[in-house]
Structure formats: structure tokens, C-alpha cells
Amino acid sequence: MKDAIVITVPSHPKFLSVVRAVTVTAVRLYEIDDTTAEEIKLAIDEACTNIIKHAYRGDTSGKIVLKYSAGREAFKVVIDDNGLKARPESIRGRSFDDVRPGGLGIHFIKRVFDIYKFDAKKKRGNRLTLIKYFEGEK
């Protein structure tokens, strides 16, 4: 998991385009196929959107730090914020049959990432770890 890329952006939605650009270019370095790359781009965008909405409650003066790395077995993104603590047990996507605005983000994240985990030891803010395992050898 060496060769990490770290990016810090303000918690303002206008920086999501920067996060997407880094994500797609980073993913390409790790030789991940285009379809998966698009799924990862959406997932990371959704994770940041959730931080802006729920952890920072729309306060755009906070920070989001993303760290991308990959080894032979997995691609990993660790996302830190200094917002309100998430209650992981209450994070759940809504049922697809219940059609109303919202509640899709978590589904988009879990569609592509095998691990979606908040670090319980972090004192202030949140650290979310997302891991996607590669299939077979790489």
C-alpha cells in the first residue's frame, strides 16, 4: 500500500469535480478497468457528498482528506473529515422499492467497495476506509 496519493479539499460541493478527476486518474494508474473505474468515481463522490451533507451539515469551511493507495490485492481509499461523528449503525441506504429523493449514496458505495468501515478509534471527526479487492491474481 505504498505510493499513496493524498488530496485535501474544502467541504464545498464545487471541489467534487477535483475529487472525481483525481479518483479516475489514480484508478487508471492501478490498472483498474473502465467500468469499475466509473463505479469507484461515483462511490468516492457519494462518500464526499455524505460528508458535506451529514458530517459538516453543509458547512463548507471544513476539510476532506482522501488517501488513495493500492497493493497487489486491493485498492484502498481512506477518507478523513473533522465533522460530526457518524453513527455507523444508523447508516443504511433506503429500499429501492421506496421511491423518493435520497438514500442511494450508500448503495452506490457498497456496489463497488467490499469494505465500508468507520474507524471507531478516531477521536475527532471520522475516518472512513473503503477497500475494493481485486479478483484473482493481479
Binding site: 460541493p13 472525481r20 457528498t49 423518493r100 429523493p101 449514496g105
Partner: protein
Amino acid sequence: MNITVAVYRGKKVVELSGDIDMYSSPELREHLMALIRRKVPSLPVNFGNVSYIDSSGIATFVEGLKCMKSYGGRLQFFGIPEGIMEILRFSKLDRVFEIYGNIEDVFDS
């Protein structure tokens, strides 16, 4: 994201391009709702040049659809790129939205 309203065969068509995300969806919502408030009977939306949509964009359209349904209006998507179609299928929203291949299919419907 860029949003314009074109007129095709005398009917308003929403033309979208670029990325629709948490940053741009409020602007999309504003334009969409301005049209819907006037109770347009149908509203075709061209997705042909949309490069990206996230859950904020989708939520905006779900909201628009609910509003239109309340007065019997129809929200009609066309020209959806495969990557976006995949997201709608995954979210089971391909059954919820009216989806057409191109503008002619919308008019023939």
C-alpha cells in the same frame, strides 16, 4: 453542467450536458421546477451529453417526477448514455422513469 431549454416541434425539451452532481443539481432543480410549476403536460429531457450523474442529480429527477405525477404530467428521458443507464438499472429506477431512445421515440409515445 449546462442546461438549456430547446424547442422541438413546438415543444420544450430540456437539454443537459456535463456533470450533474451535488454542486450542479440545485441549478438543475431550479430550472426543472420552474417548468413543472407551470404544469407542462410532458417534459422531455435529453441526456445525450450528460457525462456524469450522482445521487443528488437522481434525487432531483425523482422529486421532479413526483411533482409531475401529482397533476398527471409526464417526465420523459431520452438519449441516456450506457453508463448512466447502468446506474438507473442498478437503482431500479429504469422502471420508474419513462425512458426513450431518442426524441422521435418520445414524440411517438
